[in-house]
């Protein structure tokens, strides 16, 4: 079984899990212009952007020989929960022979889920599966910690691009990991590598901190969001995202009552503006903006795919939050038409605005 997966964020993590279970992994290439064009061509015109990109990346994976695709499902009301079914239909119609295994909400289909797990388990014991999951989870945690550190460092690096280069190296190191012990060693090695990067000293009050919030795919996938983190880092801002894979696992996959305090706290902060969970990450988005404002961040970049249903609700409400909490927020809606130069100009203007607010505050 040649297994592929949707491309989002630090893919080395999913790759590792499938590899540990003894499958051949077909890693879909990082989305490029071609991926986007393929996806746009075969997707419904008004579908949201992630559906299109993921379709494109599936087609590329199938071209590379994948026979099975593993992905997560959902129970709505955001369209993302129906991606699996839509992709199946479109790929079948295009004549691609590929099996898509969608992991839906465990509670709604227990036997189905167990069947799917058995298939992927590939004859390994349940204990082995548990061990593999633990390894991959610790890998996700440790990669996220490293990435968070890089997101801060990038603003101050002496040699442009050094952090990003180190990040690439670190990901290849993690690709070699076999067990939890390896994860620990690699994390240590990675931190040492980062420690060697030369940084400019900036006094604390002059540091600019920007939070990135929004829909999970465009927030996590740098090839789609115009490498916004690198862009902002290059402009001298520390960034922090609202979404990290390990946090997503904590909130969505771990049993009740474990590791959810952070996310629940964020949801509570969003309660005033969006009372119910309306799908996607709309409520988290408004919660995170409030959270960043309270933690003294200087600004927030809100990312959403073009015409994303839940984020349109949060986008409508953001001006009110921005006013009440006195924090600048800029919304970027991303699709195949989004241009890097245009975005860079907007980000530069946004940074200028933040800097001038900061100056008047200090003065």
């Amino acid at each position: 079984m040649k297994v592929a997966f949707p491309y989002m964020g630090t893919t080395v993590i999913y790759k590792k899990l499938i590899e540990l279970l003894g499958h051949d992994v077909v890693e879909p290439p990082e989305p490029t212009q071609r991926t986007i064009e393929l996806g746009v061509k075969y997707s419904p015109e008004f579908a949201c952007f992630p559906l299109k990109v993921v379709l494109g990346s599936y087609i590329e994976a199938v071209e590379l020989g994948a026979t099975t695709i593993v992905t997560s499902g959902g129970h709505g009301p955001c369209r993302a929960g129906f991606y699996g079914e839509t992709h199946k239909k479109i790929l079948r119609n295009l004549g691609y022979d590929v099996d898509i295994i969608v992991f839906d909400d465990y509670k709604s289909d227990k036997t189905g889920t167990i069947k799917k797990v058995r298939r992927l388990k590939n004859g390994k014991s349940w204990f082995y599966l548990w061990k593999s999951l633990k390894t991959v989870y610790s890998m996700a945690k440790s990669l996220d910690n490293i990435e968070k550190r890089i997101e801060k460092m990038r603003a101050y690096e002496v040699n442009r691009g050094e952090c990003t280069k180190a990040w690439q190296t670190i990901k290849t190191w993690f690709d070699e990991v076999k067990n939890i012990e390896d994860v620990r060693k690699t994390e240590g090695k990675s931190n040492k590598l980062l420690g060697e990067i030369k940084l400019i000293e900036v006094p604390e009050p002059n540091k600019i901190k920007i939070g990135i919030v929004g829909e999970i795919y465009v927030v996590m996938e740098q090839s789609i969001n115009l490498r916004i983190e690198e862009m902002l880092g290059g402009l001298g801002a520390e960034v922090e995202r609202s979404q990290y894979l390990s946090k997503w696992i904590d909130f969505n996959l771990l049993p009740k009552g474990i590791g959810k305090e952070h996310e629940l706290n964020i949801l509570k902060k969003g309660e005033k503006y969006i009372q119910e969970i309306i799908g996607g990450h709309a409520k988290q988005t408004v919660g995170h903006i409030v959270d960043y404002a309270e933690r003294g961040f200087d600004g927030v970049v809100h990312l959403m795919p073009f015409a994303c249903l839940p984020e349109l609700v949060s986008q409508s409400i953001i001006p009110a939050i921005s006013k009440e909490h006195n924090i600048p927020v800029i919304t970027l809606s991303i699709d195949e038409q989004t241009g890097a130069a245009n975005t860079l100009t907007r980000m530069e203007a946004f940074m200028d605005l933040i800097k001038s607010i900061k100056r008047t505050k200090i003065a």
Binding site: E85, E276, A307, L312
Partner: protein, 329 residues
């Protein structure tokens, strides 16, 4: 006290219930006027650019009601009317969206949370919390809901006889019984579309009347029995999440299979998320069933002549095929 109900979105499905309910409680119900160009323009200015046309129109109606000086505007939070089903995220967040984006609306919105297992949303639990704001007792609310429920059930019953929502809303309000749907027709069309697209005469430019004038019998999802519709989707791997979208899709499948339906027209508003998926599913499946299928996407710019030309061509094509098939038979 004046309660405003926007003539938009689910007005076309639940108005008899809500209107009766508030009137029985002794309030004056102000329904906003029909959608006009000016109203849409105001709505567009108050909305984020990417949002779908129905929400922009809704915002326009809210602004009109605010200008009319109502005390409250009724914007229920539509969560679910079927087990495991939801509404589009924009419906679920609609009260929040209005409260924080329309100036002056914040403290004037009544937004009970609607979760129900069936389309009948006259359950006391949904409306009980509004009692404080309205100054009504439990008993009064219960009694008013009972009357509202009766009005709504009657509304649905007549709709299923083949009348459009507009005709029946008119009947429920004025008591004027609609004329029989046309008897002489040359083509039968299954019309897929949400009630707030098809029956907002500005958005759809009165597509139902236009079709009827061409001698077309029009069937829509709300003219069918809910349970029969639901059964259409039973062999679907995974249903859509959105209750009304499922109804639409179920109606679509029924139209595909039903021998007396000659063709299907899907009316969708610009920017509708759920419809983007339904449209693709229908498009892929229409090859399998070999039935003509056409999508009409409408927005605030759509020209009337353009629409007329397209449906005329579609109907003529179907009619010609029909005559040809008859001759050959």
């Amino acid at each position: 006290m004046k309660i405003g109900i926007p003539r938009a979105l689910l007005y076309y499905y639940y108005h008899p219930l809500w209107k009766t309910f508030f009137e029985k409680l002794g309030f004056e119900v102000v329904t906003s006027g029909k959608t006009t160009k000016e109203l849409i323009d105001k709505g567009i200015k108050a909305s984020v650019p990417e949002i779908c046309v129905p929400i922009k129109i809704f915002n326009g109606h809210v602004l009109e009601l605010l200008e009319a000086g109502v005390d409250y505007i009724f914007i229920p939070r539509m969560m679910s009317t079927r087990k495991g089903g939801f509404y589009c995220p924009k419906f679920m967040g609609l009260p929040d969206l209005v409260r924080y984006s329309i100036p002056g609306a914040k403290d004037k919105i009544l937004f009970p949370k609607v979760t129900s297992l069936t389309d009948d949303i006259s359950d006391f639990k949904i409306y009980s919390k509004m009692g404080d704001a309205l100054g009504a007792s439990k008993k009064q609310i219960k009694a008013a809901l009972l009357d509202g429920q009766k009005a709504w059930i009657e509304f649905r019953r007549i709709t299923k006889e083949g009348y459009t929502a507009l005709e029946v809303l008119d009947y429920v309000e004025t008591g004027k019984k609609p004329q029989n749907p046309i008897k002489d027709y040359r083509v039968t069309i299954g019309l897929m579309g949400y009630v707030y697209d098809v029956y907002d005469e500005f958005v759809s430019m009165g597509i139902v009347d236009k079709l009827r004038e061409m001698g077309v019998l029009v069937e829509t999802f709300e003219m069918m029995d809910e349970n029969l519709l639901d059964a259409e989707l039973s062999d679907m791997n995974k249903r859509l999440f959105w209750t009304f979208s499922n109804k639409l899709l179920a109606a679509g499948y029924k139209f595909f299979k039903d021998g007396h339906i000659d063709g299907i027209i899907h009316v969708t508003a610009f920017g509708c998320g759920p419809d983007s998926l339904i449209g693709k599913i229908m498009e892929l499946d229409s090859n399998e069933f070999g039935k003509p299928f056409m999508t009409i996407r409408v927005d605030e710019h759509t020209g009337e002549n353009h629409l007329l030309t397209r449906i005329e061509a579609f109907i003529d094509m179907i009619y010609r095929e029909k005559v040809k098939a008859k001759k050959e038979a």
